[in-house]
Symmetry: C2
Subunit: 121 residues, 2 copies
Amino acid sequence: MSKSEVVELSVLDAGTVAPCCPPITAGELSQDDAEKMAVMFKALSDPVRLRLFSKVASHAGGEACVCEISDVGVSQPTVSHHLKKLREAGLLTSERRGTWVYYQVAPSVVAAMSAMLDLRS
Amino acid sequence: MSKSEVVELSVLDAGTVAPCCPPITAGELSQDDAEKMAVMFKALSDPVRLRLFSKVASHAGGEACVCEISDVGVSQPTVSHHLKKLREAGLLTSERRGTWVYYQVAPSVVAAMSAMLDLRS
DNA sequence: ACTCGGTATCGATGAGTGTCAACATAGACA
DNA sequence: TGTCTATGTTGACACTCATCGATACCGAGT
């Protein structure tokens, strides 16, 4: 395997849209939709990933260099592993610029999760 | 143990409020907040639990009898186990009425998750 | 070409989780 | 009391996952 062998799971196309699911109150989730959403929720089901994600999301422009967010109390390989998980779930995208790698939030995917939890109160 | 011996983890007090965390864009999550939120997201990180939750949430009044939602492709003990997880995470509450047990959604906790994912759009 | 700092991958390990069969418990009703 | 149905609990097993050290990869300088 040479290099761009990434493929990126892209549970729901990461970058672009991803309506996927209506609010849960609107009806029962199908098996397929449930599995898709479960992947996204699982990505945020770890404290370390949650902190990494929040560090990126709260950064100016919704983007941050790995070097700026790595201080979460675990080793560098572990940080890299968690960022990969978030990428595979479609919640973050990454881009290398010179020496450093920058991660950005994928707003549409996050919006899909939020919308699904909207109980329209 | 007589009866109301439940204790219910109540990560954030299940029933009442639970602001817990502001939108992720507002700043980095603290270690504590990250751990609290992780518990809730983890509760929804399984397809079976997601379907059970959606069945309750989409039911009239946000309430459903176990007997009405048990058809998710796994055994009865497994359904019971998943419902317990959702209860412990504060996403559902349960109440026995005669022969049947009814589960209700805890709107405030779900709202907290949704609010956290609100990217200010 | 060589070195150096930043990041990703690999392999191993211990902890956690989903699942089921078997059993226990709680009401309802005879 | 005894039986029947609806749920919850227990114990076991296979599987996944978080974590780390070691190592590989990639750009940038020298």
